[in-house]
Point group: C2
Chain length 598, copies 2
């Protein structure tokens, strides 16, 4: 079985495009070395290859089922979780006094990427658990952290985020789960939550749900929503799981893919009282949850990239082996068929995958590096860093989710009929990744967030920061050769794109919010293209710098980077032009389609 | 359950865009009326709704399995085939003396479309059987037709096409199955065939394989390939199935979708002699098979359209019912959520589906009408009709296959998490349709066929015919209002597109075949866009003509057509511009990517 990610590319991204080694100069990371980071990645690769990858198909074929009221998962899930726990990844980015290694977020996420590539379904449990703990670390009381967060850091319990309800998915303002104060300061939680990943299983001795609920008798809308810690089993005095907390599994969702992660419908307060603890202040629920959600959104983007990576590596290995046809013009029927990687159209299908996957990885890791900068970077730059991260988050989430789906389709196409069968995993990746444009905020939600909020907050400062950084990278690339196409493509897109967005937003008062937001999809695709072009410029520049002194396989690697950047500039980046036009014209063709005309 | 196709749209396409009723003026169809055609469609709808649609999910969930060496299908497959047979569809387009109704091909295919929309898996058996019989009708001897074709027309036996082999899929020139002459004039067939749909089952008392094989000791390459009739059971003197013909099932393929059609690996000549009869002259195998293949390719395109139609109708019904969120600017949290069809981005997702599905249907039916013209149209136009049909075939096959996959992704997206579950059929359509860019010639094969053969044959006459017809439709549309966007879009594309193709082909001698064919994908996408634009122009013109006198629901229907044409012109058609540029520049970025650079 081919590798599911390229370690060479990951090292390039971390240490040649980003300067991850330089993080060790920061106080928090001063005890680290680059070698430590590489050792962490090697450990992740080892655990992922031994305990996650071999069971991806099993997890797909044996989706969670109910037996006597309990969720049954393959035994390999338990073993994978144990290996992950023993490797210390549940707490690796936390302070040393919490049992962690104080790993930078970008290294932590690069490590996690191995598990996503190996088995996206099983990786869901640690991802949610780590996100849940991170939210608690920021908003929960020290006492709550001791009781509910520490078991997550130790991997003994798992966590969820319980937001959606049957009648409220994208529209969280309409949730109706209620929290009623109890005499002891806790709350009785009552309601039904839908689409809850990891909502019920026997992998751990307890599950900590982070539940959005509405204070009984409180305000309507988002200001009435608070956040609660709700354990599956109530905690005894000594903190160990005790009696049931009446969170009742009401059903399992049967999905197209991502089957290794159990997805549940949960009733809170069925057959008895479900007790929860308020996190932070009342009415802050959505704001707090967005902390976890934003982190999850970057994780979704990286997960998409990793599925794309796995598909790319499989189809690449196949294309090198499989022989079929001859090169055009070769007419001798007795000559042997050539490996299909010799065919121009197969190379195109592979190169588009490479451009998508490696561009997406550059973007995902860039966003993670911004998270580090936000916490440990120069104090004076943090406000700008935060605005840039806010602006990029919907793109980091959405661009790979959408474009990796096309890349995985290309992976199937390279393999032809074989790719369409379950003898190879690419059809599984294709099913798995189709969830990514939906969960943690649909593509439409991301687009509206970008155009309706992120592009205008702080007077549009986020976009200014982005363009300043992009211009700096353009300027720094001037002396380098082999970058003409990507430089010219990015320069053009970085002028025309923001101009079109600016033209639309300048008319916002005239148009009104509905007609402005009709351009949300175009804004997302447009800015996504600009940002990916920028990421390819950065990769091409790093490759061009390294190429003159490179040897052997490294030379081919850097040539490939330059060619992929060219491909992105010539084949992919021009696709944003239609969106530039639509935005500049404040197009509302879809909005103007009356429902009865369909 | 919502309908899987719009009968209103089908009638519009057949009787308002195409003038199908005028076919009754031709001698072959002179006993028909338009009402006859509508009655056939109503019968197809009825049989499809009662015997095919209810079992689509069952066919998906219970894919064919082996039990004691026999292929087991759900019982509903048998019932569906019986209903199809009893309705007379196996022979409906054949002469009356063969038991048929002499239906025009366009009406026959419009009828068949109902079965594809209802249950693509089960529809595979009649499709292959009808195609097999059509090939026999053209190339087999009268005696062969009597023995092997008539049982297919009666639906008593089914047919296959057995082309691919494990080492030869797209590269049919490399097949190694051999045919060795036997003393009685028949041939002993020996070899292994892969990806054979309908290759083994118990639905009928016999199966007639059309097998490509190489005359033992004959020429290498395609000129050594001949076509053979190979029954599963040898025919007794009276024509009834007798002893085994030693065609042995060696395995079943387990597919992502399309599971209602069994897909097999077959060994010919295992455990005894497999006897076949030569069809026509030796060495003509590939040419003869392309007769069936071209018909199958149009069928694949229509099948893709029908899967897209089913997904569109489901997501449309969901969008009208499901309430979520409020219109931008509406801030009252106590107001009820709106049906999601009110959201601009949901309308965009629906409108793109409509543009894709109805545009694809217009194209597929246009091609079928050309098939009728080829056989019953004015004699003097037939050469041009044939060239146009040849040119359009790779587009009819590929454009819907690719773009419907995006439309089905939109259908899932409209439905969010629900669309990702198996509670709704859209995820199944999405899996089913992913086969369409692969089978009956991959997209890469179609693209090479278009650029390397169809655009140059007869001195490029096919494209001239296409552009002449397109120009005539443009000119005829001049007096109509509401067509500005589509007219201007099509006019621009019809100038720039062929110019770019011409520029590339003019340099063919300099560039050599490999560098020319590196543009094949762009040529296919480019010409696909032009043709679909043309199909939307035709629909918009028909709508604009009908609108002034329309009443009630018809008014909304025609308004929807005009808006969908606008959407295609503004949102979709501009996507071909990148391909215009790539072709004009004779881009070879992908070809220039050395295999070792990946």
């Amino acid at each position: 079985m081919p590798p599911v990610l390229s370690r060479r590319d990951l090292n390039f991204q971390l240490f040649e495009v980003l300067d991850t080694a330089a993080l060790t100069a920061r106080a928090r990371f001063s005890s680290h070395t680059r070698e430590d980071y590489e050792a962490v990645l090697t450990l992740a690769l080892d655990v992922a290859e031994r305990h996650f990858a071999p069971y991806a198909r099993e997890a797909d074929e044996h989706e969670p089922t109910l037996r006597e009221g309990r969720v049954v998962l393959p035994l390999s899930a338990q073993a994978a979780m144990q290996a992950f726990r023993e490797a210390g990844f549940f707490s690796a980015h936390h302070d040393e006094e919490l049992g962690g290694l104080a790993l930078p977020w970008v290294v932590m996420q690069a490590a996690m990427a191995h598990f996503q590539a190996a088995n996206i379904g099983y990786s869901g449990y640690p991802f949610l658990t780590i996100g849940n703990a991170n939210l608690q670390r920021q908003f929960a009381s020290p006492e709550q952290q001791r009781r509910y967060m520490m078991p997550l850091l130790e991997g003994r319990w798992f966590g969820t985020m319980a937001l959606s309800e049957p009648q409220a998915g994208s529209g969280l303002a309409d949730i109706s789960t209620t929290a009623t104060p109890r005499p002891d300061g806790t709350y009785a939680i009552r309601g039904t939550k839908m689409w809850i990943s990891g909502g019920e299983h026997e992998l751990t001795e307890n599950i900590v749900h982070l539940v959005l609920a509405r204070m009984a008798g409180g305000e309507a809308g988002v200001r009435g929503i608070s956040l609660f810690l709700v354990p599956r089993f109530r905690l005894r005095q000594d903190g160990s799981p005790g009696e049931t907390n009446h969170v009742v599994l009401a059903g399992l969702n049967h999905k197209l893919g991502y089957r290794g992660t159990v997805n549940t419908l949960l009733n809170f307060g069925e057959g008895g009282e479900t007790v929860g603890e308020l996190v932070g202040a009342p009415g802050q629920g959505l704001a707090q949850m967005f902390h976890m959600m934003n982190e999850a959104r970057i994780g979704v983007g990286l997960g998409a990239v990793m599925l794309g990576s796995a598909g790319y590596q499989h189809s690449l290995a196949y294309a090198r082996e499989r022989r079929q046809g001859r090169r055009p013009g070769a007419r001798d029927p007795l000559s042997p068929p050539v490996p299909i990687i010799e065919h121009a159209d197969v190379r195109r299908l592979l190169l588009r995958q490479k451009a998508t996957v490696e561009g997406g990885l550059a973007l995902g890791l860039y966003a993670c590096a911004l998270v580090d900068d936000l916490h440990t970077g120069p104090q004076e730059a943090r406000a700008d860093t935060g605005l840039l991260l806010d602006l990029l988050t919907p793109i980091v989430k959405s661009w790979p989710s959408r474009h990796v789906q096309a890349a995985l389709s290309d992976a199937i196409q390279v393999m032809g009929g074989a790719g369409y069968t379950r003898d190879f995993p690419v059809e599984m990746y294709y099913r798995d990744n189709r969830l990514n444009p939906i969960h943690e905020g649909t593509e439409g939600i991301q687009a509206a967030d970008l155009l309706g909020r992120k592009l205008t907050q702080a007077g549009g400062r986020g976009l200014s920061v982005l363009l300043t950084r992009l211009e700096a990278d353009l300027a720094a690339s001037e002396p380098l050769t082999g970058l003409d196409e990507i430089r010219s493509g990015v320069r053009g897109a970085a002028q025309a794109g923001p101009a079109a967005l600016g033209a639309l937003l300048a008319r916002a008062a005239d148009l009104g919010p509905e007609r402005v937001l009709a351009g949300a999809h175009s804004a997302l695709e447009l800015l996504g293209g600009v940002v990916l072009g920028w990421m390819w410029l950065r990769q091409a520049a790093a490759a061009a710098r390294a190429l003159p002194t490179a040897r052997g396989e490294d030379t081919a690697f850097y040539q490939g980077k330059l060619q992929a950047a060219r491909f992105f500039a010539l084949h992919e980046l021009p696709r944003i032009r239609v969106h530039i036009e639509l935005l500049a014209a404040a197009d509302t063709t879809a909005l103007d389609m009356s429902p009865e005309w369909f």
